[in-house]
Subunit: 277 residues, 2 copies
């Protein structure tokens, strides 16, 4: 594990680390914000952020303004990359498949299965590493944007007891039913759609063993709202299952980091409330 | 004038505009944040932000977290590009000369003099355009980073009465005396160093007709502190002239946008205080 960046930020430190991932079989980078409390050795809860298509660990740490909120709440923030990386790792020329577009699943199909085990990485290897290396408690929250919003919802739903809180911005709530998800799932999981429901938040809600309250913010001027996101599918699934959901439609907001930065403080408050419960 | 980007942000709107600049003889882009008050037609003060070497209008608007502060204070924020642009505009292969590195002067030397009239643009054409097109008052503040910190100080000092307030992050306070500035001034203004003092904040302080209080934040872990920035030169010049200066050395902070984002709220408060005087 090697630190490749460090910057004083909001009384704490924004760092980027590089390490050899055993789950993924390649080198990975992640961003970590350590608030002053963590730098002093006081153990802090951890919020995991999963980014959207084409992102690396950099987008969230440079554009979201998360550090001020993390400092105010005394929370460590971990922002991993969005897929395995490197020349030895399968890729595709399209921006919505392969590197930068893992959809946070464990792939079962060639050529993806060799490295694309992002779910194992996000829910297992990375938290273990973080809790060993930094002044972290095991109070975990998970949040993400678009493909990463899907990732956050699915990761929390698949691992009851592992996260205290979950939230998402503009998530792909029903990947099995929309073009981005269907393309990725066909490649990573194969054409048998029965195998897809274990990776689809809207499908998982029905059988969830834990009713973790979900906070979702969605801009109503989001250019992907009708084609790829369709939050009403999550609303209906939660209503049918009695799963607590706060879905906030934000008038005029689009799919960008300007939207995320505007409402990120509310998500930090949501996660902090559950971390200290 | 054509709007090329718009995003809802913090209750207002982050926009990017493109226009044909007569001062520069080329097309230019600038970012403008319009708080809710301005969108409703209430006239707001304007803060101009000048960015550092290699930047475009994008760096500040995507990385600084300025929108939340601008919304809280009801301030319009204008972030221009750092030089004239385009194939017809002189350039250099080095990142610290030519496009992206105007130093905000009016160049007198070939081949730069044809387009590099950034001071006329920043202090004249751009404010006139902004005050005509948006719900802006003539209460102007100016702020910047590194080369843009130099630009902010020099622009305010050269135009007594035109700005209500000035501040800077990690400014090049004495360009005539440091490598970045000497290289740029030799190219843009020629080898006669007598011509440089009109563009050097530390030199201008002695004869300033207006004693606008200056706020400067400087990280003490800034990689350019000793070679290019040397804030003690500004401190000494202000002390000698009786010019009000608040110079804050920030322990552990570097030259990055993480530093800017950490202390930007204090700069907005400084400018808002003077705008409403």
């Amino acid at each position: 594990m090697e630190r490749v960046e460090q910057h004083a930020s909001c009384g704490g430190r924004q760092e980027v680390w590089k390490h050899a991932s055993s789950a993924l079989g390649c080198d990975m980078k992640f961003g970590v914000y350590l608030p002053a409390q963590a730098l002093r050795g006081e153990r802090c809860p951890v919020l995991y952020w999963l980014s959207g298509l084409t992102c690396t660990e950099q987008n969230f740490v440079t554009k979201a303004g998360a550090q001020a909120h993390a400092a105010a709440h005394g929370v460590i923030v971990v922002a991993p990359d969005t897929s395995p990386r490197g020349k030895a790792v399968a890729d595709d020329d399209a921006w919505d498949l392969g590197q930068g577009a893992s959809f946070y699943v464990n792939a079962t199909q060639a050529p993806w299965a060799a490295h694309y085990r992002m779910q194992d990485y996000i829910a297992g290897e990375l938290p273990a590493l973080v809790e060993r290396h930094f002044a972290a408690t095991d109070a975990r929250g998970i949040c993400g944007h678009s493909m990463g919003g899907h990732g956050a919802l699915v990761t929390a739903l698949r691992h009851p007891g592992r996260y205290r809180s979950v939230s998402a911005f503009s998530p792909i709530v029903a990947p099995s039913s929309v073009p981005w998800g269907r393309k990725a799932f066909t490649a990573y999981l194969g054409p048998d759609e029965e195998m897809w429901s274990a990776w689809d938040a809207t499908a998982l809600i029905a059988s969830a063993r834990e009713r973790l309250p979900i906070l979702v913010d969605q801009g109503d001027a989001d250019e992907f709202l009708a084609t790829q996101l369709q939050p009403e599918r999550l609303r209906d699934a939660c209503a049918a299952a009695g799963h607590p959901l706060t879905l906030r439609m934000q008038p005029g907001y689009d799919h960008s980091y300007y939207f995320i930065a505007t409402f990120l403080g509310d998500h930090f408050a949501h996660h902090a409330r559950h971390a200290s419960r």
